[in-house]
């Protein structure tokens, strides 16, 4: 009975009711062909896996999700099929249909930990949904819908009246840890929620954005008023035990995701941009002291506050950040995500 509604939902989805971004259907691709070629040459293995070259050349569900998303935005069905084939056959192994989070070239078997990572699952499902629409490939929508249902069931829970995203199916809830639930603010990939909400019947998708923003507003803390990578929501938000109390490589994606989703909340975004900016670039920092830890000069990091300034105040993006030259997997990925947003919304940022 409950299934009977689904074809209608999907039909609506395919008819283009999606209000959201990453619409490369008409016009040039959102990721420039040359940039995508450069990215692939460095981070995409012929087998279809995206290589995290700063982490022992492992792959993970997040990287595969980014690869799929970039392939859609680059308009490359062959690359999408390649990355998807690897992702499905090597990572989508869990009983619940979500992805094992880590693939290690140096172990046999390559996947030894069945745990998932919700941001990777969100990115994979989201990219499948976009691909289904882009290439009229309903089989992708089917898988995306099922993943979205499962994420809503196992990765989303209610805490203090708000829906929150748990970082994985196990290990982070109030039952699993004394300071639980523990969340990662950068796992709120806002642009995915409405798209997956159209595929999944779960009402959670309609509420995640609003509740997520509310949690973000509460999670800015310390002298720099920045969110920690890992936040305990046991009582008032605070850095989770067992993790560095740090605005780190996770959390610095938060403003990027907000801008990409079109959530131009000035107070939040301006605060992030100010808090993460230091002389010469962007910095990770200690939440309690505000002390910078790593100063990051890679364009992939520097483009984040620049994107915020541009989206809020039409401040032009510096030329050197518009040029893409692959460096390491993570910042290079972030830079392409930022550049594709600029390509999609020229009106935001002349």
């Amino acid at each position: 009975m409950k299934w009977s509604l689904v074809p209608l939902t999907i039909a609506a989805f395919l008819m283009g009711h999606s209000p959201v971004s990453a619409q490369p259907t008409a016009g040039p691709p959102l990721v420039r062909a040359a940039d995508w070629e450069a990215y692939k040459s460095r981070f995409l293995e012929s087998s279809g896996r995206i290589i995290d070259d700063a982490n022992g050349n492992i792959s993970h569900s997040e990287g595969q999700g980014y690869g799929l998303l970039l392939a859609v935005m680059a308009g490359s069905r062959p690359d999408f099929d390649l990355i998807w084939s690897f992702t499905r056959d090597e990572l989508l192994l869990r009983n619940d249909g979500l992805a094992a989070w880590k693939w290690d070239p140096s172990t046999s078997p390559h996947v030894t930990d069945p745990n998932n990572a919700t941001d990777g699952d969100l990115l994979i499902a989201y990219s499948l949904a976009l691909a289904a629409k882009e290439w009229q490939a309903p089989e992708f929508a089917t898988t995306a819908a099922r993943m979205a249902d499962t994420i809503a069931q196992t990765g989303v829970t209610e805490n203090q009246g708000k829906l929150i995203i748990l970082p994985a199916a196990t290990g982070f809830s109030a039952e699993d840890r004394p300071d639980g639930p523990v969340v990662n603010p950068s796992y709120w990939i806002f642009e995915t929620f409405p798209v997956l909400g159209e595929l999944s019947r779960d009402p959670a998708w309609g509420k995640l954005s609003e509740d997520g923003l509310s949690i973000l507003r509460q999670s800015s803390m310390g002298p720099r008023k920045l969110p920690p990578d890992w936040v305990s929501l046991h009582t008032m938000p605070k850095p989770a035990k067992g993790f560095e109390p740090e605005f780190g490589y996770n959390a610095l994606r938060v403003p990027l995701y907000l801008v990409r989703a079109g959530i131009l909340d000035r107070e939040l975004l301006a605060g992030y941009a100010a808090g993460m900016s230091v002389q010469g670039g962007v910095a990770t920092s200690n939440i309690d002291t505000g002390e910078p830890r790593d100063t990051l000069t890679d364009p992939g990091y520097r483009i984040i506050p620049a994107l915020v300034a541009c989206a809020l105040d039409k401040k032009p993006i510096p030329e050197d950040l518009k040029t893409f030259t692959p460096t390491l997997y993570f910042p290079s990925t972030l830079q392409l995500l930022a550049l594709s947003h600029l390509a999609e919304h020229p009106e935001q940022c002349p």
């Binding site: 299934w3 094992a100 996947v111 089917t142 819908a145």
Partner: protein
């Protein structure tokens, strides 16, 4: 989690029909319309209509042709020289895709011919022949005209190198470049199956059994004899998700349809750990007899017999078909492998057959002497009452493991504890002593003490009892032994000290009086290690070796030979230690019947070894008939009382209905014990309550009257106390006068 409710294994690839790429996706759920699904799902014979599955991913695989018989299993190796080909699963080309009469697709044939891949070529010819009976293969396959399609050639190349994701990319690349081009259905089908195979294996390696089953259900053409490994993984996935019936079906499918000898045997061997014996029997029924008259599963059957004998060796309650034991014995006799002999040794030890156990352990020991073998042999010898031999066998290994040391110490304690005392060679005694010392084994030390007493070596006996107490300060028998020894040595102060320390805890120590004349025996006993001096004050902690840890926990094996623990209210006065029997001590490894256990329990009670008696009575209750159970419950209750566990005693007494006389007796004993416990704990009011209750069913004994008196005194009910002690004094018992003095202490000048 949604799981296919039914999975039938498919017999042959050719009957599977169209489960290609499109179907793989529809299996995900709800996208494809019902009409499309039906068109896809029913276009080939043997395919189950999946349209009734309400659009979820539930899928039924085709019924087994191997059992159903409607369709002919066509998959290699059944039809191809019995050579399994990894690429064999070969769904028929879809007619639904084109709507035209099927044309023989020779793409793969040509490709394999060109590459000189004769194995795959043969498999492909066989496959096409099955699909198209009228088709004639090229007379010279290697002369088949080369493909003109280089790009497709490259795709097959990638496919044959298992680079499936890259095939996907190549297909999409070509579709993008040549919009009119469509990949051959054959390639898509094979690709889908190959990808599913990879994913299934990966999920299986990650122990994601539901996913394994789901993939198998969605890709039935994967389940063929040429993919036995996949079938095994699916079967194991069923087994670990508690669907052993399905697992059995999967294993059985292999045995009914697949011919490879080694794989068939491996199938049975893989099934043995996960299926029940009955389910395994179904598999064994498919055994084929070879030209040499031997069954193909002989090795697996021996393995099965070994397992059951091994399981029985670990758990005496497990029953084993005699044929299993016979099979292992036969192979052990024939091959002479020590491992088989050891299995049998443990088995017989667990069946209370130490004679047979000795035989097999000796046989194994003849091949190679190891700690395990010697340990088993020693246990068998202990079971046979040949303690000296047991000690001798295990002495070289006593340090090899905790387990070996336990058994060794059990042998030592039994050897020392014989009655009449065994004649033990001085050399043997000398080597036993340091082991006992090093192990800080109170039970064996205590036996050394009794042995020394029996030999009239009282000073040595005192040292051993002292050592035992230092390792186990609450070891009442050792304290009693020490008190006896001091009495013997006319150390009145020493006796008084023990009596003071054990006041309220041991009646027999408190009332130690008459002395039994010990037997005289020649020989000199070793003193306990590091205790050469005279008997030291009791309960003084001694450390041995280089550690200073607490006395070792009393070990199970030696616990079985520990004599009387504590004293019940009915304990006799004086030295009446009865050691006229040994109550054979292979309990942990024995499988005594109910009556035998009951007899052993009483024997142990007589030996003042109530802790062991509790276990023996327990065993009797488990195995015996109603009469035995009643007696055993009674005995166990008494045994608990003897060690001072009155609550457990009450529980035990309730385990079987007793007659009125016994009920009264037990109640009386229980209440005495409780009164004593309360008194000892300083809970005087409750002690008096218990005494009152007891007084309703039995006259109050003098000792209990005294307890009552002191309880009153402690409650400052002096008048009551005085009354009681006067009554005691009137009987002539000096406890009365002592009590009266306690109530009204004589005034002195201090």
């Amino acid at each position: 989690m949604r799981v296919p409710s039914i999975i039938w294994l498919v017999a042959g690839a050719a009957v599977v029909g169209y489960f290609g790429l499109r179907d793989n996706k529809t299996a995900d759920g709800f996208f494809q319309s019902r009409a499309t699904r039906e068109a896809a799902g029913t276009s080939q014979p043997g395919t189950t209509d999946r349209s009734s599955q309400s659009g979820t991913q539930t899928a039924q695989l085709s019924p087994s042709a191997g059992t159903g018989g409607q369709t002919v299993p066509a998959a290699p190796p059944a039809t191809v020289n019995a050579t399994p080909s990894p690429q064999a699963p070969a769904p028929a080309p879809s007619t639904a895709a084109t709507g035209q009469a099927p044309a023989v697709d020779e793409t793969a044939l040509r490709y394999f011919a060109r590459r000189g891949d004769s194995k795959r070529l043969e498999a492909e010819i066989a496959r096409l022949r099955t699909l198209y009976p009228d088709w004639t293969p090229p007379s010279d396959p290697s002369a088949v005209v080369p493909l003109g399609d280089v790009k497709l050639d490259d795709m097959w190349q990638l496919y044959s190198e298992n680079r499936y994701a890259e095939v996907r990319k190549a297909i999409a690349d070509r579709v993008a470049a040549e919009p009119a081009w469509r990949p051959p259905q054959d390639l898509l089908d094979r690709l889908t199956i190959a990808e599913a195979r990879d994913r299934l294996v990966n999920a299986s390696n990650l122990k994601q059994s539901e996913m394994v089953i789901r993939i198998a259900a969605n890709t039935p053409s994967l389940l063929t004899c040429s993919e036995v490994d996949v079938l095994w993984r699916v079967a194991e996935a069923f087994a670990v998700t508690d669907r052993t019936g399905r697992a059995r079906d999967a294993f059985l499918y292999i045995l009914k349809n697949c011919t490879d000898q080694a794989e068939r045997l491996a199938t049975v061997e893989k099934a043995i750990p996960v299926l029940s014996r009955d389910e395994i029997a179904d598999l064994l029924a498919t055994e084929r007899i070879g030209p040499d008259g031997k069954g193909e599963f002989e090795a697996a059957k021996i393995d099965l017999a070994r397992r059951s004998v091994a399981a029985a060796g670990e758990d005496p309650k497990v029953t084993v078909p005699p044929s299993d034991v016979g099979a292992v014995e036969a192979v052990a006799d024939k091959d002479g492998q020590a491992s088989d002999a050891i299995l049998l040794g443990w088995y017989y030890l667990g069946r209370d057959n130490p004679t047979a156990a000795e035989k097999w352990f000796r046989k194994a020991r003849g091949v190679k002497d190891t700690a395990e073998v010697s340990q088993g042999l020693a246990l068998a010898l202990v079971g046979l009452g040949r303690y000296a031999e047991a000690e001798d066998v295990l002495f070289p290994w006593n340090d090899s493991s905790d387990e070996a040391r336990k058994v060794y110490l059990a042998a030592v304690a039994n050897l020392l504890g014989g009655d009449p005392p065994a004649m033990i060679e001085p050399a043997m005694l000398q080597r036993m002593a340091p082991v006992v010392g090093k192990a800080r084994d109170a039970a064996a030390a205590q036996q050394f003490g009794w042995y020394a007493r029996a030999l009239n070596q009282h000073r040595t006996a005192g040292q051993w009892f002292t050592a035992a107490l230092s390792w186990k300060p609450d070891d009442e028998p050792s304290a009693y032994g020490l008190a006896l020894t001091r009495l013997q040595l006319k150390d009145a102060a020493g006796v008084a000290e023990i009596q003071r320390l054990w006041a309220g805890r041991s009646e027999r120590i408190a009332t130690l009086g008459e002395i039994r004349r010990d037997r005289q025996r020649p020989g000199t006993l070793p003193a306990p290690p590091a205790q050469a001096g005279a008997a030291s004050p009791i309960a003084e902690r001694q450390t041995y070796g280089d550690t200073a840890e607490a006395p070792a926990r009393v070990i199970e094996a030696s616990e079985q030979v520990r004599p009387a623990q504590g004293s019940g209210s009915g304990s006799a006065k004086g030295d009446r230690l009865q050691r006229n029997r040994s109550c054979k001590t292979t309990q942990a490894y024995s499988n005594l019947g109910g009556s035998a256990s009951l007899a052993r329990g009483w024997c142990l009670m007589e030996m003042k070894r109530p802790l062991e008696a509790i276990k023996a009575f327990e065993n009797a209750m488990e195995r015996g008939d109603a009469t035995v159970q009643r007696d055993a419950a009674y005995g166990q209750s008494l045994a608990y009382l003897r060690v001072g566990l009155s609550n457990d005693a009450a529980v035990a007494a309730a385990k079987a209905p007793q007659d009125r006389k016994r009920t009264l007796e037990l109640d009386e004993a229980l209440l005495s014990r409780r009164a004593s416990d309360f008194f000892g704990a300083g809970r005087y009011a409750e002690a008096i309550l218990a005494l009152d209750q007891r007084a309703r069913i039995a006259p109050e004994r003098i000792d209990l009257m005294a307890m009552r008196g002191y309880a009153y005194l402690n409650l400052r009910r002096k008048e009551d106390a005085r009354r009681i002690f006067r009554a005691i004094a009137a009987t002539g018992d000096r406890e009365g006068l002592r009590g009266l003095k306690a109530v009204d202490p004589p005034k002195d000048n201090n």
